[in-house]
């Protein structure tokens, strides 16, 4: 085999889809052809990347028992309805038992109903608690930030300014003077200051914020509101007289590092490819992850403080 191998053949080779003469031919060609050997190594590396990327998803548990129960109940339902079925292996006793269980099982519609009820009750409970324990106005601030900071419609436009500037409390600290224990937002701001690659809409609500002193800075579209939210949450998290619980602190720092790493990577990509909507979307998603994380921690802190 003198001709170089095309990628499909090499892919099949690595996927174990070749056999016989074909397999031998590829093996011997790879032993002698440097170009193909290089390509083969690339494919191997990318296959490894794919496997690693999908591993967490595939390792996530599958609810085997619950599925089995649901399906048994549904089959029992079919049988009691007298619909034609091709299998008669399920014994009548089992079917009868299943028919007893069926009303207790969660059909899709019922599950949605219950889920809705739980959601409503959950929100009501949280609202109730926050109203009842008015120990700190911070709670309201965090809650309202949480409400408005999650854009529910596309990340790309940047027009759904995720933060309502009106909710910034007067004593919220400006970005530049944030306490030291959470360095990341300032890193993000510092990076932002060095970039000139994109424009921002000058008429946007976000310009009102006094926490962005450097007006020469060019942000990537849609970034500003995220940065504001992050700065605000960050000051909420740090605006406490007592230190964070060590366990929470450690977990927070680790997760923050993770999120910041992703943020830096996506931001680089978005900067390099200003016209690539994917890159912009990935960056916004990374910002959203950070906001979610900060929200969770702010909430945990506020809650702990109230419990003390």
């Amino acid at each position: 085999m003198r001709e170089c191998l095309d990628e499909a053949i090499l892919q099949s080779y690595f996927d174990g889809e070749l056999s016989g003469k074909h397999l031998e031919g590829v093996t011997s060609h790879l032993a002698t052809c440097n170009t193909c050997a290089v390509t083969a190594r690339e494919i191997e590396a990318e296959n490894g990347l794919l496997a690693a990327a999908f591993a967490p998803e595939f390792e996530t548990a599958v609810p085997t028992e619950q599925l089995r129960r649901r399906i048994d109940a549904a089959i029992a339902g079919l049988q009691t309805q007298g619909l034609p079925v091709n299998e008669s292996s399920a014994s009548t006793v089992r079917a009868w038992l299943q028919s007893l269980v069926a009303p207790l099982s969660f059909g899709p519609q019922r599950a949605f109903g219950y889920a809705g009820l739980v959601l409503v009750l959950g929100f009501a409970a949280i609202l109730g608690i926050t109203q009842w324990r008015t120990a700190g106005p911070v709670v309201d601030q965090v809650a309202s930030t949480d409400d408005v900071s999650r854009p529910t419609k596309g990340f790309l436009g940047g027009t759904t300014a995720p933060v309502d500037v009106q909710t910034v409390t007067p004593d919220a600290q400006p970005v530049g003077t944030l306490p030291v224990s959470a360095p990341s937002p300032r890193n993000a701001v510092a990076k932002r200051r060095t970039t000139n690659s994109a424009t921002h809409s000058s008429g946007s609500v976000a310009n009102k914020a006094s926490s962005q002193p450097d007006e020469k800075v060019k942000l990537l579209p849609g970034e500003r509101s995220y940065l504001q939210t992050i700065a605000k949450l960050d000051s909420t998290i740090n605006a406490s007289d007592r230190p964070m619980r060590p366990a929470l602190q450690a977990e927070y720092q680790r997760n923050l590092a993770l999120v910041d790493r992703a943020l830096a990577a996506t931001r680089d990509a978005a900067k390099k490819n200003p016209n690539d909507p994917d890159a912009a979307e990935f960056m916004m998603a990374a910002y959203q992850n950070k906001v979610n994380l900060l929200n969770t921690v702010a909430e945990a802190r506020t809650f702990n403080r109230q419990q003390d």
């Binding site: 996927d15 794919l50 990327a53 996530t60 599925l67 529910t152 977990e251 992703a262 998603a285």
Partner: protein, 189 residues
């Protein structure tokens, strides 16, 4: 949802019916429910909906047990039905509704379960892979997904109604594209 999906699956069931070594329903469930559930979840991106889809798929198997293919292609048959049902499920919901639900669910998770560190890392990793996969065009995307689940080219071809000889090049193109997009998320680590 059912009419269209059945129209798609039934001819295939007949054409592949090789009554040879048919599995019992219980065996089929034990062997393949994970692949069905995971494939469904990768399309609908929600565990509860994926359970609904899985239930529907196995009910169809139950109803068509005589007409389903033998052991060697049963998984392909199941996953083909899975993809149909899952896509119809998605179509059945208005997109904004789905997004709102997802948003609310995420919110509630954040409220109630500050997950331990591994869970958080895992969630971020899963989300990154999903985002990258979303950017890959069909049928490359499904090829990649099924390949990662361990399906052979023949099974992939049957599941997606492709020529088996084309699967290798589709997997190769999908793999390249995934590596490129995943790199933008910083997933090359």
């Amino acid at each position: 949802m059912t009419g269209q999906a059945r129209a798609l699956t039934e001819p295939m069931a007949k054409e592949m019916a090789t009554a040879a070594t048919a599995l019992s329903f219980d065996e089929a469930f034990t062997l393949h429910h994970r692949a069905v559930f995971r494939t469904a979840r990768s399309v609908v991106r929600d565990s509860a909906l994926a359970e609904d889809v899985t239930q529907e798929v196995f009910l169809r198997l139950y109803r068509n047990l005589d007409a389903t293919p033998g052991e060697d292609l049963l998984r392909a048959w199941l996953l083909r039905v899975t993809l149909n049902v899952a896509r119809n499920t998605l179509r059945g919901q208005s997109r904004s509704m789905a997004r709102d639900n997802e948003y609310q669910k995420e919110t509630m998770q954040d409220w109630f379960a500050p997950a331990p560190e591994e869970d958080y890392e895992r969630r971020v990793a899963i989300e990154g892979a999903r985002r990258a996969l979303e950017k890959i065009k069909e049928p490359m995307r499904s090829c990649l997904l099924l390949k990662q689940q361990g399906l052979s080219y023949k099974e992939i071809a049957v599941t997606l109604s492709l020529k088996e000889t084309n699967v290798g090049s589709l997997v190769a193109r999908g793999r390249k594209e995934f590596a490129r997009v995943y790199g933008k998320i910083g997933g090359s680590r």
